[in-house]
C-alpha cells in the first residue's frame, strides 16, 4: 500500500476478502505468514495492536453499540477521561472531537444521536468518524456499499476521495466492478483465498469480471417468452409495518399472472422482505388486500397460505428456511409432516418421510451423503436445493422466491434458475425478489422496482440498467433527486397509496448535509 492510495480488493462472495482483512485487523489469527509494516513484520494479536499501528476498519456488519450515542460509540476504547484513576468520562471533549473530525471530512453526524435511531447511511458515517478519530493512516472499508443506494454510494466515494487527498490510504473491499473502476488507484483480485491478479482501474469490466469469477458466467437464462395467463396474485394498497412499527411497505399494488415471472428489484431494505413476509402470513398487514386466484388470503395463517398452493423460498435460508439439526428428509417435509403419507395429524410415519426424500434427492440434484444426514452439514447450494425441492413438491399456483441464489455456488444458481423457469412454463405465477439486479434482469418477464416501501415503476427487462438503477435510487422521470439518505422517510406529503407508476416528488425532502 502506498500512502494516499485507494486500493480495491475485488472478489466474489466468499473469496476470502473479509477474512484477510479481519486477520490484518487482529480479529482472526493467521495460521501462518506475516504482515509487514514499513518492511518490518507486525504481529497483530488483537484489534488494539492494529489500532496502535494506525489501521482502522469499517466492518461489513457495523460495529456500533445500538443503544449508545454517536459520541459514546466514537470514544469507546479510546476514552478521554479526567479525574485520574476514577476515569470519569469527559463527554464534552468527546463531543467536540466528533464534531471536529466530522466537519473536517464533511461527514455530518450528530454526536448526541442514539445510533439505533440513525439510518444505515449515517451509521456508516459514524463508523468512518470512529476510525478517523483514532488517527488511522490505513482505513479498511469492508463492502461499504452493500446497503447503500447509488446516490449514497456516490457520497461515500466522495468522502473516500477527500480522505485520499488528506493522505490516508484506503483498502476498499467490494465485488462491484463499477465502483472499483470509479475510484481505485490499484486493484487486487482475490479468488478462493488466492490473489489471482492485480490490475489498473483502466482495465475493462469484462477483464476484471473474468479474473474475479475465473470463468465467464452468463447470468442470462435460456427461456422462451412468457405466455401470461390469468392473474394469480393480486395485491392492492398493501401497507405493512416493520419490527419497529415503522412503515415498511407503503401502499403496494401488484399483479402476478400465471406463467410469468415478476421480479422485484431494489436495494436491500426497501420493504421487499416485509412485503413477502406479509404475503406469507408471517407479518401482520396494516391495510390492503391480497388475493390468490381471486380468493382473499390476507390475514390467513402461514400454513393456510402454503396449503392454498403457494411455494415460498425465504431470503435467509439458515434462519427461516431450514432446521439445520434436522435431517434432509425431515426438512423436505417441514411443511407437510402432518399430511398423508407422512403423518395423519397425530402419528408420524418416518419411513414414508425417508422414502419420499430418497426419491426427491436425485430429482433435485441434492448432493448429500444420505437422506438422514443433518441439513447443516450440506453446502449452501445444496441446502437451498432442499428448500426448492420442498416448496416445488406441492401443486403450486404461486411461487415466491426471495433471494433464491444468495450465497449459492454457480452450478446451483444455474440449476435453481432453470427450475424457476420450468415452474413458470408449467403455468405457475412466480414472484422473484432479488437485490442482484442481474438476476432479476435475467429471470424476470416484468420488473417492479421497489423503493422505500413503494413500487416506483414496472419496467421491461430490456430497459437499460442505468434506468433501473435510477429507479432503485428513488429517481423517477426527469427529476434527479440526489443527496438523500435511505431511511429519512418521506413526510406525509406523498404517502397516498401510489400505483406503480406514480411519480413521487423527492425534491421536496432533500436532506441537507
Amino acid at each position: 500500500m502506498e500512502p494516499g492510495e485507494i486500493h480495491a480488493l475485488l472478489g466474489e462472495n466468499g473469496a476470502g476478502k473479509s477474512t484477510l482483512m479481519n486477520v490484518l485487523y487482529g480479529l482472526l489469527q493467521p495460521d501462518e505468514g506475516e504482515i509487514l509494516v514499513d518492511g518490518r513484520p507486525l504481529r497483530v494479536r488483537g484489534p488494539g495492536d492494529a489500532i496502535a499501528a494506525g489501521i482502522g476498519m469499517v466492518h461489513q456488519h457495523f460495529m456500533l453499540v445500538p443503544v449508545f450515542t454517536v459520541a459514546e460509540n466514537v470514544m469507546l476504547g479510546a476514552e478521554q477521561v479526567r479525574g485520574g484513576i476514577l476515569g470519569l468520562l469527559d463527554r464534552r471533549r468527546a463531543r467536540r472531537r466528533v464534531v471536529e473530525v466530522s466537519s473536517r471530512y464533511n461527514l455530518q453526524v450528530d454526536p448526541d444521536a442514539v445510533v439505533e435511531d440513525l439510518p444505515v447511511g449515517v451509521q456508516q458515517r459514524v463508523e468512518i468518524v470512529k476510525a478517523l478519530t483514532r488517527d488511522v493512516e490505513l482505513l479498511i472499508l469492508d463492502e461499504p456499499t452493500a446497503v447503500l443506494t447509488p446516490q449514497e454510494t456516490e457520497e461515500l466515494l466522495a468522502v473516500m476521495r477527500a480522505l485520499r487527498e488528506a493522505g490516508k490510504s484506503i483498502v476498499f473491499i467490494t465485488h462491484k466492478l463499477k465502483e472499483v473502476k470509479a475510484i481505485a488507484d490499484r486493484i487486487t483480485v482475490i479468488r478462493r483465498g488466492r490473489v489471482v491478479g492485480t490490475a489498473r482501474p483502466d482495465a475493462s469490466e469484462d477483464e476484471l469480471a473474468a479474473l474475479m469469477v475465473g470463468r465467464t458466467v452468463s447470468l442470462l437464462v435460456d427461456k422462451a417468452p412468457a405466455r401470461p395467463g390469468a392473474a394469480v396474485l393480486e395485491i392492492e394498497g398493501l401497507v405493512v409495518d416493520d419490527d419497529r412499527t415503522c412503515r415498511a411497505v407503503d401502499g403496494v399494488d401488484l399483479t402476478v399472472r400465471a406463467g410469468e415471472v415478476l421480479g422485484i428489484a431494489g436495494v436491500q431494505g426497501n420493504g421487499q422482505t416485509e412485503l413477502v413476509e406479509a404475503l406469507m402470513g408471517l407479518r401482520p398487514i396494516v391495510s390492503g388486500t391480497v388475493r390468490l386466484a381471486g380468493e382473499r388470503i390476507d390475514g390467513w395463517p402461514t400454513r393456510r397460505v402454503l396449503r392454498a398452493g403457494v411455494g415460498y423460498v425465504p431470503e435467509d435460508r439458515s434462519v427461516d428456511g431450514l432446521v439445520k439439526e434436522f435431517s434432509v428428509a425431515e426438512n423436505l417435509v417441514l411443511d407437510m409432516y402432518d399430511q398423508p403419507p407422512f403423518g395423519n395429524g397425530l402419528v408420524l410415519r418416518p419411513d414414508a418421510i425417508v422414502a419420499s426424500a430418497r426419491q426427491r434427492i436425485p430429482e433435485f440434484d441434492i448432493r448429500t451423503p444420505s437422506a438422514e444426514a443433518a441439513v447443516g452439514t450440506l453446502s449452501g447450494g445444496n441446502q437451498q436445493k432442499v428448500i426448492i425441492a420442498r416448496e416445488m413438491s406441492r401443486p403450486l399456483k404461486l411461487f415466491v422466491a426471495a433471494q433464491p441464489t444468495r450465497g449459492v455456488d454457480v452450478g446451483s444458481i444455474e440449476f435453481i434458475h432453470r427450475r424457476i423457469v420450468r415452474e413458470r412454463d408449467a403455468g405457475t405465477a412466480v414472484l422473484l425478489v432479488s437485490s442482484e439486479l442481474d438476476e432479476v434482469i435475467g429471470l424476470a418477464d416484468r420488473i417492479a422496482v421497489m423503493y422505500r416501501g413503494r413500487i416506483l415503476g414496472i419496467v421491461d427487462p430490456q430497459t437499460p440498467r442505468e434506468e433501473i438503477g435510477l429507479l432503485m435510487a428513488g429517481v423517477t422521470g426527469a427529476e434527479s433527486g440526489s443527496g438523500e439518505t435511505a431511511a429519512t422517510r418521506p413526510t406525509e406529503s406523498g404517502t397516498a397509496p401510489s400505483a406503480g407508476t406514480t411519480t413521487v416528488d423527492e425534491s421536496g425532502n432533500e436532506e441537507s448535509r
Binding site: 445500538p66 460509540n73 479510546a78 476514552e79 476515569g87
Partner: protein, 425 residues
Amino acid sequence: MSTVTVDDVAVAVRPGFWTRERRVGAGAVLLGVVAAALFGSLATGADARFTFSEDAGGASVAVNGTLGAVLFGLVAAAAGAALLAGLRARWFIPLLGVAVVGVVLSFLCWQVSAAPAGQNFMPLVNIVRGTFILALPLIFGALAGVLCERSGVVNVAIEGQLLMGAFCGALVGTMTANAWVGLVAAALGGALISLLLAVFTIRYLVDQVVMGIVLNLFALGLTGFLYERLMQPEAARYNQPPRFEAWPIPLLSDLPLLGPALFSGNIFLYLALVLVVVIHVALFRTRWGLRTRSVGEHPTAADTLGVKVLALRYRNVLLAGMVAGVGGASYTLALYTFTKNMIGGKGFIALAALIFGRWSPTGALLAALFFGFADQLATYLSAINSNIPSEFLAMLPYLATLLAVAGLVGKVRAPAADGKPYVKG
C-alpha cells in the same frame, strides 16, 4: 449476528389508541375505583393513625378510615385517568407511582382502621426501618446482578452468592472473632461462587442460566453440609459470629422519622446505599462503565476497539460475587447466626428487583425497597391480626415481576448480549 437486540418482552403494539400508557392507565382507573369502593366499604369509621415513632406515641397523622380509603383510591383512579387522557410519556412513571401509592394507602387506611381497638395505628419508623432491613440483601443481590448482566453474563446464582457470603462471614467471623475479617471472608465466599460462574460460562461456555441454577444447588448443598457437620455440633466454635452494631450518624440520626429509620443503621445499610450511588456513577459516567455496558450490549464492537471483553467480564462477575457476598453477611454479621438455606429465595427476589428495576442500580434500589416494603407489611399485618393472608403479600414481588416481564407494566429491555458467551472471530 452483531446488533442482536434481545427484545424478549417487546409487545407488538400497533400505534393506535390503546398505547401501553393508556392500557396501564385504564388498569389504574379500574384498580383505584375498586380500591375506593371495596376498601372504603370494608374500612371502619375509626381513625387510621400513622405515627412517626416506633409505637403508638409521638406525632402522628390520623385519617378517618373510610374517608382515607375512598380518597386515596380516587387519587389512584385520577392518576390512571390522567394516563388514559394521553399525557406525554415522561409523565408515565410519576403517574404510575402516584397510582400505586394511592392504592397502597387506600389499602392501609382500611387495614389500620379495621385493626382491633388500640392497635389501629401504624408506626412508620418501624415500617421504614424494617423495609430497609428486609431490602438489604435484595439491594446487594440486585447490584450483583447489575454488575454481571451489564457486562453480558446472566447471574441466576445470586442466591448462591448470598448464601455463600452469609456462610463464610459466619464461619470466619466466628473463628477469628473479628467482624471485619468475617466481612472480607464473606466477600471472598461470594466471589468463589462467582469465580465458578465465570470460569464455566466464559472459559467453558456452559449455558449461563444452567450454570447459575446448578451453582445455587451447589452452594445450598455445600453450606448445608458444612453447617450440619461443623456448625451444628460445635456452634460456639463455628457459628457465633460477631456483630456489627448500629452506628447512628451524628446529626442525621436526630432527624424525625428518617433519623431513627435510616441513619441509625449498621454498616451494611450505609454500604448498600453508597454502593448504589457508586455503581450508578461508575456505570454511566466512567470509562469502566462505558466499556462494561458496551461489552454487555455488543461485545464484538467493543473487541474491535481494543476492549478486552473476556477480562472485563471476569472482573465484573468477580466483583458482583463480592458485592453479593457482603449482602449475605448482612444477615450473619448483623442479625442472625447461620442456618441452612437461610437466604430462602431472597436471591431470586433480588433477581426480580434487578429486572423490575430495568438493570439500573437506582431502579434496582427502588424495586428492592418496594419488595422489602411488601415483606414488612406482611409482618405488620399479621401483628395486627389482619385477615389478609401474609402469603399473598409475600407473593407480591413475584407477581409484580411476572407482570413486568409480560410487558404489562412497562417495556423491560435486557442488555442485548446478556446471556451470550463471547467467542472471538
